[in-house]
């Protein structure tokens, strides 16, 4: 193993170096070869070329074997801790979703198992898709990233012309199932930014390559989401875009400028009244427990009952299935506010354990992505993992009334089949990245 490791590194460096020399000499830095090769590694590797070739051959055989086994061996490279964490979250999520939805389903549909049975089917399908996706060579996504982005833009436009619910255009119904266009958009954006950042990683420090295209795509996305409208998604998209750009190496000053612009923009929108819907939702933000007017009391009903549920949990909770707030006090307890019921039933201890599992998932996902073979894998893996982490945090801040009630679901917990399947598929891509990251362990 030690042997191979050295070989692999040397080989990699060689390839890296060759490409670097090739590229720089041709285009951007004609003078740089003189500068760079003065480093130790290239000069030391050159004389060892014959030995190196021998080892490279060995490495190629291994690579062939990897490619051969890739489709058949689940053991091969799949990051087991990450996979186990997903399964644990999926199972716990299903149990809690069942518990939370039980009375709601009972009173509304007469069948307490309605949501569980539906979600279970999607979970199974999602799990299979995840495993399949883990075998899929994510490098193909490079070429797919632009078409997917284009497709999701089309979806975002199409959804505006589809029948709306409460004047909100979010859902695309294709008969068999329906999904939110914004879900696709989030994935498309992460994918594109990972692609863009990895391909142009050298130029990400520039405005023309590193900032402008990202901002244009981000701007279009935000505009389309604003038309839906879907503000919570805008928040996530903003954070994800910022994060992806940050990872890709965009200079920090742009973030300072962007931060200033966002503040100014929000202020401007507030002044022009364009934020009316969001403001209406934000009206009750932070004052769910204070009675001002009847209308406001009704508006903050969900948040208030979420707080009641969380507070009722105490340290140890009321016990699994013992929530009282789910008895129609907390509206749709299986959706965005499911974690309030989790807190009520499992208490602070249970909530922290679940949060720790999420944290471990984020940790594992990001660290394994950092070991990916290429920047695309790293960026994509971190982007997809961070999306889960961000949604968890934002969801919890909403149910605890630290953020306005905007409709951010809790991954693996909240009810929603398509969303779950997409979540798992994205995790499948992270697993696929983990295979390349862990290849040295074979």
């Amino acid at each position: 193993m030690d042997n191979y490791y050295t070989v692999r590194q040397h080989g990699a460096i060689n390839r890296y170096w060759a490409a670097a020399v090739d590229k720089t000499s041709q285009k951007r830095r004609p003078a740089s070869p003189a500068k760079r090769p003065s480093g130790k590694r290239p000069s030391s590797s050159r004389p060892a070329a014959p030995q190196s070739r021998q080892r490279e051959q060995y490495a190629q055989t291994v690579n062939k074997r990897r490619q051969k086994f890739k489709l058949f061996s689940a053991r091969l490279g799949l990051d087991m801790p990450f996979c186990v964490l997903i399964v644990v979250l999926l199972v716990v999520g299903l149990i809690m979703m069942f518990s939370a939805s039980y009375p709601y389903a009972y009173y509304n549909d007469g069948n307490s198992y309605l949501y569980l049975s539906r979600q279970l089917k999607f979970a199974v399908v999602g799990f299979i898709i995840m495993i399949l996706a883990s075998y899929f060579d994510y490098h193909h996504l490079h070429s797919l990233s632009v078409p997917i982005l284009g497709f999701s833009f089309i979806l975002l436009v199409v959804v505006l012309f589809l029948p709306s619910k409460n004047n909100i255009h979010r859902w695309v119904d294709i008969g068999l199932f329906s999904f939110q266009a914004s879900e696709v958009m989030k994935f498309a954006l992460i994918l594109f930014l990972a692609h863009w950042g990895s391909v142009n990683f050298r130029q990400m420090g520039t405005f023309k390559i590193g900032v402008l295209p990202c901002i244009i795509i981000y701007g279009i996305t935000v505009f389309l989401l604003y038309l839906e409208p879907h503000y919570s998604c805008i928040v996530i998209i903003t954070m994800l875009t910022g994060m992806m750009m940050f990872l890709s190496g965009v200079r920090l000053r742009w973030f300072a400028i962007a931060g200033g612009l966002i503040v100014a923009g929000v202020l401007l929108m507030a002044v022009t009244g364009m934020l009316s819907y969001a403001m209406e939702r934000m009206d009750g933000w932070g004052q769910a427990l204070i009675y001002t007017t009847e209308g406001m009391w009704q508006t903050t009903w969900q948040t208030r009952n979420s707080l009641y549920a969380i507070g009722s949990g105490g340290l140890w909770g009321l016990g699994l299935g013992q929530s009282r707030q789910k008895y129609l006090y907390l509206p749709e307890p299986q959706n965005d506010f499911i974690f309030a019921i989790v807190c009520e039933e499992l208490g602070l201890v249970g909530a922290i354990i679940i949060l720790m599992i999420f944290a471990a998932l984020v940790w594992r996902g990001i660290t394994l992505s950092m070991r990916a073979k290429d920047k695309f894998g790293t960026l994509l893996g971190i982007g997809l993992t961070a999306q889960v982490g961000l949604q968890v945090v934002l969801n919890m801040l909403v149910i605890t009334d630290w953020l306005p009630n905007t409709g951010i679901t809790l991954p693996f917990f909240s009810y929603g089949g398509t969303s779950l399947v997409m979540q798992l598929a994205q995790m499948g891509i992270v697993l696929s990245i983990s295979r390349t990251a862990n290849i040295e362990k074979v």
Binding site: K23, L348, W363, M370, K375, M396, T400
Partner: protein
């Protein structure tokens, strides 16, 4: 080309990871911990508050008993029909339910339908539904559940209803309760807090729609039943009082109701307090007086409501304590007592009545009811004549200051403190705003009870104090309060307010009043054998309320018995007789007598006949032989005797006692209609060591007659021997002679 992550990418990845974990998850955990540990209690309390429903469980109201343990007021379970219209799913269901329930509950269908449209969990349809109706509602609930799949919309909740088994008996004393089981009048009002009990609670967890949550979360705090109250009122006494009052009202055409109060003179316990016309406690909101009811119905519609409420207020008013009146001549008892006590007169003092009297110079003469004048009379005769001029003179001897002092001492200036609501205060002379400050002419008329107003209860309490040796007592109605397990919570002890007159004055007054009852103005109130003492009163109201063109009068009689050892005092008071008679001696006295005649034997007060009376009492049995049985029976009843017949024949063939035998009034004559029946025998009981009444009662039980021998009219008598020995078999109706002797001294045989 090398693809692996650069150092900067890795560094920035770690920054992203750290940001998400520390800032993101850290903030979340901090927030959750704050909510669950710091604000947890507050939020949980709020949550529980909205999840739990608190249902009140009515406590059973305590029972009211009379002094003999008879139930006067009792609560029984009834039902409340409640609608939860929020569960209606469509209008058809509303129509089905409102139609069905309206029919069962006897309500208007439109009303029920209107109520069924409210989006509420609790809409009361009907209260105090009896259990037979409740069964029909239950049937209906099952029916609509099965046929129309309508559930949860109709609820039945337990409730209590107050029943008054004796109806109108003691109505003004007992009072009644309102729709929420709260006492509104009388004892029910006065002792509401004791009777009410503590309502229980049922705490159940409900979902946001108001139905029960499926998990077990129920806490019952049982209702604590109210306390039971035992009154000093004896319902039999009460019924006697009411019966005779009612008759009196009819006979003497009483315009403005009548009152009778009987007091135990030794304790102050109220044995009966009748206000007629009364009303039915089971239906107190119905005007009981048909005439008034008719008058209201004839009024214009907009005035009916007011008239009705006035009529009800009047009907519920306790005249015995709520209305004041001029006591009139009855008050002479007090004037006489204070004069004797102060020593300004003796029984031998003489007064001359010329038909009228000028109390002092410059005042118009005040007449006596006997216009011709009573002439010269001593103190006792003056009272027996109820002579106004004599009493003006006595009043003058007492003086204004002393008069008012005694007035206060007899308790007229204060409320008696009886445990009933709505007691009135007296109205006495108050020249220059100082009560008791009066002109000489005021004193003159006050001496015979005019121009100041007191309540009938105050009057009878004052007379009681004269009867019982001078102690003014506090009247009371509640003898004891017991909790639902029978433990005595409160027992009323007699309260002596003060010694008003000395015992010797009291004794003298008793004798004078007995004399008055036997042969004075109060003789119409006398009952043979019961040593009644009493005084009549006819007070001028000096106002014409009934509109007959003449000033109204109040006819009253207040007395006690037995005079030598007073036990009960009774006041009878008729407000405004409109018939031929209106004097106390003509109206109130006979009623008083008939009340006493019924009540005293019932209370077991011993008869003490004078020899003269005894002679009158014995009846000589006539011969009924040969007469038809029914004719003979009629005749026996007319003679004031009881009859008993043996045999199957129609004609009386023999009788016991035989004709010519003396048997006591109320004795039994046994008639035989065939030969075989003569064999009927009874065993003679032991009739010794009994009082006269007891011996009489025991003999009557065995269908035997007793003949009393050795009786004297004074002292308590006990039987010492009987002529036919105990255990012997004799024919029913046989007269057994029983010897009595007084037990006031052992050596004083016979």
């Amino acid at each position: 080309m090398s693809k692996g992550p650069t150092v900067r990418l890795k560094r920035r990845s770690r920054i992203v990871l750290a940001l998400i974990l520390v800032c993101g998850f850290g903030a979340v955990i901090f927030r959750l911990a704050h909510l669950m540990l710091v604000e947890g209690d507050y939020l949980q309390q709020k949550a529980v508050y909205q999840q739990l429903t608190d249902t009140k469980i009515s406590a059973k109201r305590g029972t009211i008993y009379d002094s003999t343990g008879k139930v006067l007021a009792k609560s029984a379970t009834v039902w409340r029909v409640v609608l939860a219209p929020i569960y209606f799913e469509n209008d058809d269901e509303r129509l089905i339910v409102s139609k069905g329930l309206a029919k069962i509950l006897d309500l208007k269908e439109e009303d029920v339908y209107e109520k069924s449209q409210k989006k509420l969990y609790y809409v009361e349809l009907k209260r105090k539904v009896e259990s037979d109706v409740r069964d029909r509602v239950l049937e209906f609930i099952d029916k609509i559940k099965e046929e129309n799949k309508i559930t949860d919309v109709i609820n039945l909740l337990p409730d209590y209803k107050r029943y008054y088994p004796l109806g109108s008996t003691g109505a003004t004393v007992i009072g009644f309760t309102g729709a929420d089981d709260q006492g509104l009048e009388g004892i029910e009002y006065m002792y509401d807090s004791f009777l009410t009990g503590v309502p229980g609670r049922m705490v159940t967890a409900k979902n946001a729609n108001g139905t029960n949550m499926p998990f077990d979360y129920e806490q019952m705090i049982a209702a604590q039943d109210g306390n039971d109250i035992t009154l000093t009122i004896d319902s039999t006494v009460q019924q006697f009082l009411e019966k005779h009052l009612e008759k009196g009202i009819e006979d003497y055409m009483i315009y403005n109701r009548a009152v009778a109060i009987m007091i135990d003179v030794n304790t102050g316990a109220v044995l009966g307090m009748a206000v007629e016309n009364g009303y039915d406690l089971n239906d107190p909101f119905e005007v009981s007086d048909e005439k008034v009811k008719k008058a209201i119905a004839e009024l214009a519609e907009d005035k009916q409501q007011e008239a009705l409420s006035n009529a009800l207020t009047a009907q519920w008013r306790n005249k015995a304590i709520g209305d004041t009146y001029y006591p009139g001549s009855v008050f002479k008892v007090c004037t006489a007592a204070m004069a004797l006590e102060e020593g300004v007169v003796t029984t031998e003092s003489t007064f001359t009545c010329t038909g009228s009297y000028v109390p002092y110079e410059g005042v118009k003469a005040i007449g006596c009811h006997n216009l011709g004048g009573h002439g010269t009379q001593n103190f006792v005769q003056a009272l027996c004549n109820s002579c106004n001029p004599a009493f003006m003179m006595i009043g003058q001897r007492v003086g204004e200051e002393k008069f008012y002092e005694y007035y206060k001492a007899f308790g007229f200036s204060e409320k008696t403190g009886i445990d009933l609501p709505g007691e009135s205060e007296d109205i006495f002379f108050d020249e220059d705003g100082i009560e008791g400050n009066m002109w000489p002419v005021d004193l003159a008329v006050a001496s015979f009870g005019q121009n100041f107003a007191i309540t009938p209860l105050q009057m009878v309490m004052a007379v009681s104090s004269i009867a019982n040796g001078g102690k003014l007592l506090k009247p009371y109605l509640v003898a004891k309060i017991t909790d639902s397990e029978g433990n005595v919570i409160r027992q009323t002890e007699p309260v002596v307010k003060r010694q008003v007159i000395s015992e010797s004055t009291s004794k003298t007054m008793c004798e004078i009043l007995e004399t008055n009852a036997i042969k004075g103005s109060g003789k119409n109130g006398y009952v043979a054998g019961y040593r009644i003492a009493g005084k009549t009163g006819t007070s001028e109201k000096k106002i014409d309320l009934n509109g007959d063109g003449e000033d109204d009068y109040i006819a009253s009689y207040c007395g006690f018995a037995p005079a030598d050892n007073p036990q009960v005092a009774l006041i009878v008071y008729f407000d405004t007789p409109t018939g031929m008679y209106y004097y106390g001696s003509q109206v109130a006295a006979p009623v008083f007598a008939s009340m006493m005649k019924d009540i005293l034997p019932y209370l077991g007060v011993e008869t003490q006949y004078t020899d003269e009376e005894l002679q009158k009492l014995d009846v000589t049995a006539k011969s009924y032989i040969g007469k038809a049985l029914s004719a003979a029976e009629n005749e026996i009843e007319q003679d004031g005797l009881k009859h008993l017949s043996y045999g199957n024949g129609d004609t009386v063939i023999s009788q016991i006692p035989e004709s010519g035998t003396k048997i006591p009034d109320g004795g039994t004559v046994v008639l035989y209609t065939d030969e075989n029946s003569k064999d009927a025998k009874v065993v003679v009981p032991d009739l010794t060591n009994l009082t006269m009444a007891e011996a009489n009662r025991k003999a009557a039980q065995y269908n035997l007659n007793i003949s009393i021998s050795g009786a004297t009219s004074s002292g308590e008598l006990l039987s010492v021997s009987q002529d036919i020995a105990e255990g012997e078999q004799v024919s029913p109706g046989t007269v057994i002679t029983v010897q009595f002797r007084t037990n006031s001294g052992d050596d004083n045989v016979m």
